[in-house]
């Protein structure tokens, strides 16, 4: 039995491809419905800004070269 046929695929080719699909996960057992409470797809994280050294207050500005 042919379950799906790709564009340009002959009936014989589709039958062979579906045979591969049919056999590799074994006989059917049960049906489940799964509605995740959280999105299983990771969100695109914002690029992290370059780590800058903390700016420290100058204790004696007169000793700092211009």
């Amino acid at each position: 039995m042919i379950y799906s046929r790709l564009p340009g695929e002959t009936v014989k080719q589709a039958a062979r491809r579906n045979e591969v699909l049919a056999t590799y996960i074994g006989p059917f057992r049960e049906k489940r419905i799964i509605i995740p409470t959280e999105d299983p797809v990771p969100t695109r994280s914002e690029p992290k800004p370059e780590q800058m050294p903390e700016e420290r207050p100058v204790e004696n500005p007169e000793l700092v070269p211009a």
Partner: protein, 163 residues
């Protein structure tokens, strides 16, 4: 996801944590995942959806094994024999390709088989690459899909011996 079709189902059939399946892919352009048999390109940062929700009969749905050894053995089998890719009935989707395995989250309508699943929705959870895999492609896959990519462990490599 459109849940309207699912609301009428008995509560006992509804779960809230994605199932985890295992499968292998080709890489496309060094940064995308592509199904080995169907040639479908898995979209980065978006769920892959089956053409239609899988029914009990037929082969619709996103296929994955229920245990990792099966996926890795299949990866090794195809790499060593190229039987599936060289079969005249199976298109060779890319001229230059690398193959990898990994785990996937599965949800929506999921048909459970003896050795695997057919799911309505899927997204990669983690990718496992052979030791000769291109390191640049690893970085590109991590960036594209936002998932961890690791080398196959010694135990996993042992699963492929003798195939």
């Amino acid at each position: 996801m459109n849940h309207s079709d699912l609301n009428s189902l008995p509560q006992k059939d509804v779960r809230f944590r994605p199932l985890i399946g295992y499968r292998c892919w080709l890489t496309l352009d060094g940064r995308f995942l592509q199904s080995v048999i169907m040639g479908v390109v898995w979209p980065p940062r978006a769920a892959l959806r089956s053409f239609e929700p899988p029914t009990e009969m037929g082969q619709l749905g996103i296929h994955a094994y229920s245990y990792p050894q099966a996926a890795i053995e299949w990866l090794a089998y195809i790499q060593k024999t190229r039987k599936v890719l060289n079969d005249a009935s199976i298109p060779v989707w890319t001229h230059t390709y690398a193959m990898l395995a990994g785990s996937v989250k599965l949800w929506g309508v999921v048909q459970v088989h003896e050795d695997g699943y057919r799911a309505e929705f899927a997204y990669p959870q983690e990718l496992w690459v052979p030791h000769d895999f291109d390191p640049v492609t690893i970085l590109e896959l991590e960036r594209s899909y936002g998932v961890h990519v690791r080398w196959l462990t010694d135990d996993e490599v042992r699963w492929t011996e003798g195939l």
